[in-house]
């Protein structure tokens, strides 16, 4: 994956996936900066990784569960749940417009 020059289409696509609504200036700047970063990290392609297992977890733990019990100690009241919301209505969070629709 040598090519790492990001086009403005790429930037549009990524920013939509990431739900970031960039200004045109940001898009231009990022096209340059992100391409440079991608060049930097693309060095990884040269490393031989045949037969190497990917690491997702470094603790070595497995089968960590909780019992199916109700834990009231962490439960929030409706008031607490809504405490930091910019807009609420009768106990609901209010979203002004459905994202992107």
């Amino acid at each position: 994956m040598k090519q790492s020059s990001l086009t403005s289409n790429d930037i549009d696509h990524i920013s939509t996936l990431a739900h970031l609504f960039l200004t045109d200036d940001e898009k231009s700047l990022f096209a340059i900066q992100l391409s440079a970063i991608l060049d930097f990290i693309s060095k990884l392609q040269k490393v031989s990784t045949t037969n190497i297992e990917p690491t997702s977890q470094i603790t070595g733990l497995q089968n960590v569960f909780r019992e199916d019990e109700i834990d009231t100690s962490r439960m929030l009241s409706q008031k607490q749940a809504l405490a930091n919301a910019p807009a609420t209505y009768k106990g609901y969070f209010q979203v002004k417009a459905i994202f992107g629709e």
């Binding site: 497995q62 019992e67 199916d68 834990d71 009231t72 439960m75 749940a81 609901y92 969070f93 979203v95």
Partner: protein
């Protein structure tokens, strides 16, 4: 399937969110607050494995959770914790339909639209969901109907979910494509918003027709998601979002993977109850019941177990079956012991022998001279009176007509 656990999938909030005040059953975890972390519910995992076993699946030796990313107001973390390439169970079968996989994930919150505004309630966020995916083995609406009902029965047998479509504890999303050849078509249409078995039939039937018409016209249906509109009985295209399909799955770093020893799996499989098909076969052979009767009895586990609790030497399984199936007994209100009593009493009373009856009639005639004389003098009401007296004596367990015939034979009229 919404699993009927006490607590949610990744936190200790009650899973029961029905009828609660909005956003009153949450905690930092299921509300997706900054800093919160998930810890999986052991029972939800065990029940999903149980479901996999009941569906004849292979339980994956190694399994894990993955993050599935998309943005929507009802998805608090911006990702759903689900399972991607290592689900808990794979490759099973129910009837003729192959099961591709069974995996475990968390539910989202609930959105409500009113005009231009959208309201979100996170009470449901984090409830455990077991998702069952089949292979594209269905060839008709009937097959789908049969399958989903069988699946519902199975899940209820296991006692892991209410599996109620109207309440939302069971949801189906059919994917439909039509083809002339034996090869799978390149497109697939997914239908959402189906809230009952009836609507499922309607939606699928509509969609089959819609696609068939398009193909006849030489058009290929677009790969898309469509919503079922109940009021019109049709499906409509939902807004197409190509990016929405890039879920950017990666292994959930906050939850260690799961690895099962065969002893653990054996322990879980011991929790498997006798499943409906096997139970039906056994009822047929052990109790000599017809396929129909046996089928009726095993409809629900509750009914089947109730039936078996009634089995006694006092009466035959066939009679018990008959009572349960035909007489609409309220299994909640009548205990098996009480039912057995009722059956025994009624079978005893219905077999008032002819001799017995003859004796009682003669006794009544002897005790009611006046009525007998009246009847001899052609007063018809007297017969009715005498029959009534006999019926009272035998507690109604007899036929009025038959009794009047016997009385008439016994009384010589002038």
């Amino acid at each position: 399937m919404e699993l009927a656990t006490k607590s949610k999938m990744f936190c200790g909030c009650p899973a029961d969110h029905f009828g609660k005040e909005p956003n009153s059953v949450t905690c930092p975890v299921c509300l997706g607050l900054p800093g919160a972390l998930p810890v999986p519910n052991k029972k939800a995992v065990e029940w999903t494995i149980l479901l996999g076993l009941a569906l004849g699946c292979t339980i994956s030796e190694e399994s894990k959770f993955d993050r599935k990313h998309y943005f929507y107001p009802d998805l608090p973390k911006g990702y759903q914790i689900s399972q991607y390439d290592q689900p808990l169970a794979i490759n099973g079968k129910l009837g003729n339909i192959r099961i591709r996989r069974v995996h475990l994930e968390e539910d989202t919150g609930k959105l409500q639209h009113q005009g231009n505004d959208t309201f979100v309630d996170f009470n449901r966020s984090g409830v455990p969901l077991a998702e069952i995916v089949t292979e594209p083995d269905f060839r008709s609406v009937d097959e789908v109907d049969l399958f989903v009902k069988k699946l519902q029965q199975m899940v209820r047998y296991l006692g892991i979910s209410g599996a109620d479509m109207e309440k939302g504890s069971m949801r189906i999303e059919p994917s439909i494509s039509m083809t002339n050849s034996s090869k799978l078509p390149k497109y697939r249409v997914e239908i959402k918003n189906i809230n009952s078995f009836k609507f499922a039939r309607n939606a699928i039937a509509y969609e089959i027709e819609r696609q068939t018409e398009m193909l006849k016209r030489g058009e290929t249906p677009t790969q898309q998601t469509r919503g079922f509109v109940e009021s019109k009985g049709i499906t409509v295209a939902q807004r197409e979002k190509e990016e929405a399909h890039d879920y950017r799955y990666f292994p959930e770093p906050d939850i260690p993977p799961m690895r099962w020893e065969s002893s653990q799996l054996s322990a879980i499989s011991r929790l498997l109850p006798e499943l409906p098909d096997l139970k039906r076969e056994r009822f047929m052979s052990e109790y000599g019941l017809s396929e129909y009767d046996a089928g009726q009895l095993v409809e629900t586990r509750q009914r089947a177990e109730y039936f078996e609790s009634c089995i006694s030497e006092k009466t035959s399984p066939k009679i018990i079956a008959n009572w349960i199936i035909n007489k609409k007994i309220d299994l909640e209100k009548v205990t098996p012991a009480q039912l057995l009593d009722q059956i025994v009493q009624s079978t005893q009373s219905t077999s008032v022998s002819d001799d017995e009856l003859g004796k009682i009639i003669k006794q009544i005639l002897a005790e009611n001279n006046k009525a007998v004389e009246d009847y001899k003098n052609w007063k018809e009401q007297a017969l009715g009176f005498l029959v009534g007296q006999v019926l009272r004596q035998i507690k109604g367990k007899g036929e009025a007509q038959a009794i009047s015939v016997i009385i008439r034979r016994l009384i010589q009229r002038r």
